[in-house]
Each structure stands twice: as C-alpha cells, then as structure tokens.
Amino acid sequence: MQHLFDIADLFSSRAPACDYWTLRLVEEEQDHLEVRQGVVEPSRLTYSSGAMVTLVKDGGIGYGASSDLSAAGLRAAAERAGGWARVHARLGLFEAGLYPRSSTRADYRTPIEEPWSTLPIGEKLDILQAANAALPIDDRIVDWSAWLARRRVSQLLITSDGGRVSQVLDYVHPGLVAVANEGSQTQRRHGGGSDGSQQGGLERIVAVRLLEDAPRVAEEALALLDAPECPQDTRDLVLLPSQMVLQIHESIGHPLELDRILGDERNYAGTSFVTPGMFGRYRYGSELLNVTFDPTVPMELVSGVADDEGAPATREYLIRRGILERPLGGALSQARAGLPGTSNTRASGWDRPPIDRMGNINLEPGEGSLADLIAQVERGILMDTNRSWSIDDSRNKFQFGCELGRLIEDGELKGLVRNPGYRGISASFWRSLDGVGGPESLEIRGVCNCGKGEPNQSVYVGHAAPPCLFRDVAVFGGGE
C-alpha cells in the first residue's frame, strides 16, 4: 500500500489546476486454484493496477483512467479528463457544482485470521483434491469440481480537499459443484461456500465446511435426478438465505438504486417501479420487512469505511416495518434528486467510474427458527440455492429458479422436488411476507457478479438474510 501513497503524494505535488480533483488508485491480486475430476486445472495469478483521475473543471466533469502510474501517465490521464470536462461543461446533464467533494480520512483493512500466503500451494491443492475426491460417489456424477479463489483489492482515494481513504479488502472463495445425469435429465448442486462469499482469509475454508460439504452436494445432485418435478400451482413459499440473497438483490436492491430512478440506466440495466414520491410513505412490504444498507457488518462483502467518492460509510434503514424510507443513492445522485441516500457510489475497478451500486443490503432478522417457519405452512415449497434469475427492466415482474426444492405439508418437510421455480411481482410479493427467521438463522452471503452500468461494471454485493415465509406464490417445475 505504501507505493500507492507514494504515487498519490507525487500526483498531489503536481496536481492539475481545476476546481476539484480526485485520484483513485486500485491494485488487485487474484489467484484461482481448481481441481476438476481429479485433475488440477491451470492455476491463474493476476495482478492489476491502474488509476482514475476525475476533474471538476471549467464547469464540467470528466475522467481519465490509465494503467500507466508514472507521473507522466497520470498527467496524461488528467489531461484527457480535462478534455471531457470541457464537453460536459457544454452538454452536461447537471451542473458540475453538484459533484460531491470529500475530505474524509479513513482506513480499512479486512481482519484476517489466516492469510492466503500461510498455506503453500501444494497444501491448498491437497485440500481441493480431497474435496474433489469426495464428490464422484456414483457413476451418474458426470462432472465435479472444487475450487479456491483469492482476491485482494487495495484502493487509495485522495482528493484535492484533503480526503485520503485507504481500503484493503481480502476475499477467499471456496466452492464445490457436482453434476449428475441420467438420460436427458441433468441436475447441478453447488456447495462448500460457492454462494456464501464473505471477506476473510483461509479461515473461510473451515467456516464453509468445504471438505465436509462434498458428500451432501453429490448426494443431493443424485437425489434430484429421481425427484418429481416441482408442482405448478399457488402455494406458500419458504426461501432459504441462499435464495433470499437473490430475492433481495433483484427486487429490493436494484429498484431502490437512485441512478435507475433518475433514468441513467434506462438503456441498459433498466429503470425502477419506485418513484421519488414513494419515499417516506410507500408500503413496500408487510410489517415484518426491515431492510438496511449496512457497511458495518463484520466480514460482509462490501463492509468498509467509505465509498469510492469518499462518502463515509454509515448504516441506514431503506425499509422499516414495510415502509420505504430512502433510496440507494450516493452523494451526487442525492444532490440531483433532492433525496437522502447512502454511501454507495462504487466502481468495479480503476478503469470504470463510480456509479450508484448496492453495498451490503440486508434483511433484518425477526423471530424464531427455520423449523418455526415451516411449522406455519400447511401446503408449501421450500427452495434452496438460486440457479436462475430474470426480472423486468423496472424490477417488478420476476421469475427465479432454484437448485433444490422440498415439499412442505402440514408443517413438516417432505420429499425433494426438482427444477423448482416461482414468479411474482415485486410490488405485491413483499406484502405477502409472513415470517422472518430470527438472528440465529441469519446468514451473511452475497453475490459476486452484479452487472450494471455503461460502460459495464461487475461488482461484489453483500446480502445478509434469514429464511423467510411468503404466502400464496405461483410456483412451477420443469418441462417444455
């Protein structure tokens, strides 16, 4: 990190003449190890480094990004940013004076128990071989893999107002998949932490039970081959946290993004059924629905001290007791919309400009256990692990599919069903929320491939949720 400070100091000493500037330096290290069918796949080590200079100058805003971190390289990036600031001054959507200024000084580093480097690569591969070897328990398992990925993102943001935010985020992502096939029926089951990403070090391997989870993953993939199709009718629905992540993401997170409400995303990611007049009074869901933007949850994917424009990270309620309170909008969007917001202006890397993104969007726990939720269901389906997602451009009409379903009858779990799916409308779905698991059932998870923005950006997003019960949902199974 020290060399980033050195680069920043050099840039500051010869800062471009303008009303305001920021320099965002980003370094990324990634390592991917995988064993498939007993064979070690080619490992991949990557190192990325670059910077984005943003200028507010002559009544406009522009950015320039470069992988050349020399003084000359950053100067050239600043010149290109200045050129685009002149175009923005002439044709801009809003006054440059709305651009947020930051003097935040803060530091964050993921607390790690076991750094990635403490385990030699040979031992990491041994763990993966052991997990991989536990998957092919039957000839009908036709493909199987175990993996371990590491990512470290080091970012330093400095501003002409004296802002200086350094953040180092570490991730270790373990995972497993087993593919079962018989005839023209194929089923996949994931596990071992594949959909439960958090910040952390090698301690994640134990936390997600990578080795212990393998037999379950393979057994469930096989069992799904013989399971009946999920019934097609209207039933109560219990979603485990592994699917709640997606439900929150698509039908609460995205529609609350303020840049969508302002129309920026209408050509690509879409707009929102939420309008500015809804905040403070719109009933988004039942009284049980409490949703927060929370960058303070330890180890959740987007926990940190500030966003990528230097706004301090604070916990905020988005929805409280079912009533919509505030959107997901960073300081610039807040100024454009005249609404409160959150510190959620983020970029996917040094080569993309910050925009409104989800951070950690969490559904706050209620009371009771998963068993308590199931006991309230006379005729329903439990669904586990997202496998398919689709929602309209205003984030209303959705259809989601899961890897595994179980029938619920008279308050008890019954047999497996395969290809379970459900569909609904965001604006009414959350009002059917009739049970939220307690703190002991809460799971901290997230998604690592949230796509949005023009140019396109893919980012990590954290979601914590307990299992939840929804009444009278349209469910269906597979088949033509």
């Binding site: 080619p42 080590l45 990557t46 959507l93 096939n181 023209s184 690509y268 259809q399 023009e454």
Partner: protein
C-alpha cells in the same frame, strides 16, 4: 501499445526463459472514449487506456497462467512482465503435470489491421445531441482502438487491431415506453444516424397510443433480430461447447441425444471468417473459417477450445467455449411483409434479461422490452406493456416456427464488461405461431 512494442516485449521475455520452458504471451490493448447520455445530455464522460498482458508458462507437461497490466513504458513494462514471469516460474515447480495441456507447436503469423473513419468522440456526441434535440435519449457511446496480440517462444506472431465506434441508445416517451437503436461500425455517417433517429421518432409516435395489456397465454409473434439475439445468447451459454456436451450439461442435450430437434430451416454457425474477432486462439491455434453448430435443425459440431480438445480428443476449432461470431441462416420472409404475415399478434423488438427456466428442456424465460407492439390485421396498432415469456426453444425454433426473414442484421456487441467486445451476430427475424406469455 503497438505491435512492434508488444513483440519486442515478448522477445525480451523469451530471452529470459530457462531450459525447456515455453512461453505464450497474449496482449489486450484498448484506448476507449466512453460517454454516457441521459435525457440527451452527457451524464458521465471519460477515457480509459488499458494494456493487459497474459502469460502461460509451460515446462514439460506442467503449465501456469498469469496476467498483469502494462503501463506503455517499455522499461517499466519489462519490469512488470519479468516480475510476473518469475512468479509463474516459482509456482510452476509446485503444480503437477496437466494431462490436458494443449498448445500449437507450429509457428504461425498473421497481421490484420482494420480501417476506420470516424471523427473524435466529442464531435460525434455533439452531432448526436443536436440531431436528437427534443428526444429523451439515453445510452452509451464507446469508441477507440482495440488490439489483441499473441507471441510465443515457439514462433507465433499474431496481431489483430481495429478501431470502431458503438453507439447503443434508446429514446423514451414515458415510463417504460421506449424504442431502441444502435449504430456501430468503422465508418461514421451522420446521415445514417439521422435516419435511425427519424425511425425512432416514428416508433415513439406509435408508443404514444394507449398501451395494450395482454393476459398470459400463447400469442402469434414476430421477433426482430435484436430479440433473436437474446435467444441466441442463451444458446451460446453452454449450448455448443464440447465440455458441456460431454458432461451432459448443454441445454441442447435432448437435441444431441436425438430426442428433439429444431425446424429443418434452422442453421446456426460460428462464422470466424467474418473477421471482426481475432482468428487465433491464445494457445496459437488458427480458427477455421466456419463451424457448423446446427444444420438442418439438428446438432452438427461442437466448439472445441484447446483444453477440451485435448481432454476429449477433438480438433481445436475455437478460442473459447462460446461463439463470438454467430450466424443464423436466413429464411424467405421479406421484413416488409412481416406485419401482413403476422396478421394479429406481437411484434417483439427486444427481449431482456433472459435466463434458463429449465435447461433440460431448453426452456427460456425473459421479458419483452423496447419497441414491442400489438399488431391487428397486419397493422401495428398499439404498444404493449412489458410481458414475461417462458417457452422452450424447441418450440420457438421448432414446431412453432413459421419463417425467418430473408434479410439479416449484423449486430455488433455493445458489451464492455471485459473491455469493448469484438463479438457480433448476423441474425434474421423469426415469425412464430405462438410464444407463451406467463406474467
């Protein structure tokens, strides 16, 4: 970074190799202007200059891969690349033999540099904003230079460079009433832009009519090429690659097993010879001009990348597991005659957010979006509120296919997740006797 600088860097690295080591160096170079627009004004504008180097170090049957960003300064880049090479060498001693290691051991060379004529981005944006005066225009302009290079210690020398622009935008009337367009290529013509905007103004005129709200059910439909691109995009997701077939994960499993088929008029090809994407793989293999994926409605060949080719004993014919230059054969229907043949039904301009509903049955769900209309007695009469479809491609490209258009559109991908894409698709429209709407 230009070709000479890249090959000089690769030569420098090759001189650093020890003993029997083999090195493949791949370069991705991009210099791009990006301008986001909203309400026909500039929302966010800037420039990105990036150069990424990928290395594959091989010794015997072992291999490791790595990558780093380059600065453009030759001295600094040698330092960065040598540092990466040393890290890979350090790791190489700790990985086992790879039975699926595969690379071309034959020297080869190519050099393709495309011509382009378009003005500076700021000038084009000025023309666009002026031409779209009064319209609620939202979208993205992306333009600039792209280059990909390959060099190896065996003697491969390949370079593929182009400059292009891609304007992807939509115009809104209100709420979700909108029409979409795209203008991309290598030669900028303001008259073409004005013609596209004029067509959008006509589309918005229809959009101003009260929207038709459809009940779930089965409807006759025409899917324009942009909508067909979304369906083809689903097939590109595991539909054609050899590994997905050999591990029974392809959504075309029933077709591969001979249990289902598309209509005999359906022919799908990977058309490498379109020339927009590089004709070499990162392992040094050349790609054939065309790969027949579906012919006569039945599965033909798989896309075979280097690793899968070695694993399953097939000849390499693709750089990756997904098509990058897809083509769908044309039919006999004149686009101008589509409303008449449709008679009463849906004109679907675009689909959105497709995903597998049940991959075993090639069943896709997704949404209508942009430029979707209700047609009665061969006339477009009203826009349609967005609807969800959930249907099998065995029906839409099979027993419910009535015809494909004679004309095909070349659609250049506007995707920029991993840099500006060089993917493209050449597609007709589809007339189907029914598509199942569910919500």
């Amino acid at each position: 970074m230009n070709a000479d600088a890249f090959f000089a860097l690769a030569d420098h690295l090759n001189a650093e190799l020890h003993g029997a080591e083999i090195l493949f160096s791949n370069l991705a170079n991009e210099s791009s202007d990006f301008v986001r627009l909203n309400r026909n004004r500039v929302r966010q504008a800037g420039h990105v200059r990036s150069t990424a180097l990928d290395l594959t170090l091989i010794e015997g049957s072992r291999q490791v891969e790595g990558g780093c960003d380059l600065s453009g300064d030759p001295t600094e880049d040698q330092v960065r690349a040598r540092r990466l090479l040393m890290r890979l060498r350090e790791r190489l001693g700790h990985v086992p033999d790879d039975p699926y290691l595969s690379y071309s051991s034959e020297r080869s060379e190519s050099d393709r540099r495309g011509d382009a004529r378009f003005p500076p981005a700021a000038e084009s944006i000025g023309e666009l904003v002026a031409a779209a005066d009064g319209m609620d225009l939202v979208g993205i302009w992306a333009s600039g230079d792209l280059a990909e290079g390959l060099a190896s210690s065996i003697g491969h020398r390949h370079w593929h460079a182009s400059a292009s622009f891609n304007l992807d935008w939509s115009c809104y009337l209100e709420a979700d009433k909108a029409v979409k367009s795209a203008y991309s290529g290598f030669d900028w013509d303001p008259a073409t832009l004005r013609a596209k905007l004029a067509a959008m103004r006509e589309g918005l005129h229809v959009m101003s009519r009260p929207a038709r709200i459809l009940e779930p059910g089965r409807y006759r439909a025409y899917l324009a090429p942009s909508a067909v691109a979304e369906l083809m995009g689903m097939l590109c997701w595991g539909g054609f690659d050899l590994k997905s077939h050999r591990t029974h994960q392809t959504p075309l499993l029933k077709m591969a097993r001979g249990e289902r088929s598309f209509d005999p008029r359906i022919g799908i090809h990977e058309e490498h010879d379109r020339g927009l994407a590089p004709r070499f793989t990162s392992e040094g293999f050349p790609t054939p001009p065309r790969v027949a994926l579906v012919e006569g409605g039945r599965f033909a060949e798989c896309l075979v990348d280097a690793r899968s080719g070695k694993e399953y004993g097939e000849t390499v014919n693709a750089a990756s597991d997904a098509p990058g230059s897809l083509g769908l054969d044309a039919g006999t229907l004149d686009t101008a005659d589509v409303p008449g043949h449709l008679e009463t039904g849906l004109w679907i301009g675009n689909l959105w957010y497709c995903n597998w509903s049940d991959p075993n049955d090639c069943r896709v769900t997704g949404m209508t979006r942009f430029g979707t209309y209700w047609v009665e007695a061969g006339e477009i009469v009203a826009p349609v509120k967005v609807m969800r479809f959930d249907d099998s491609l065995y029906h839409l490209l099979g027993d419910r296919l009535e015809d494909l258009t004679r004309e095909r559109e070349l659609l250049l991908s506007a995707e920029t997740y991993d840099g500006r894409s060089t993917d493209s698709a050449l597609l007709p429209g589809l007339l189907v006797s029914g598509i199942d709407l569910t919500l």
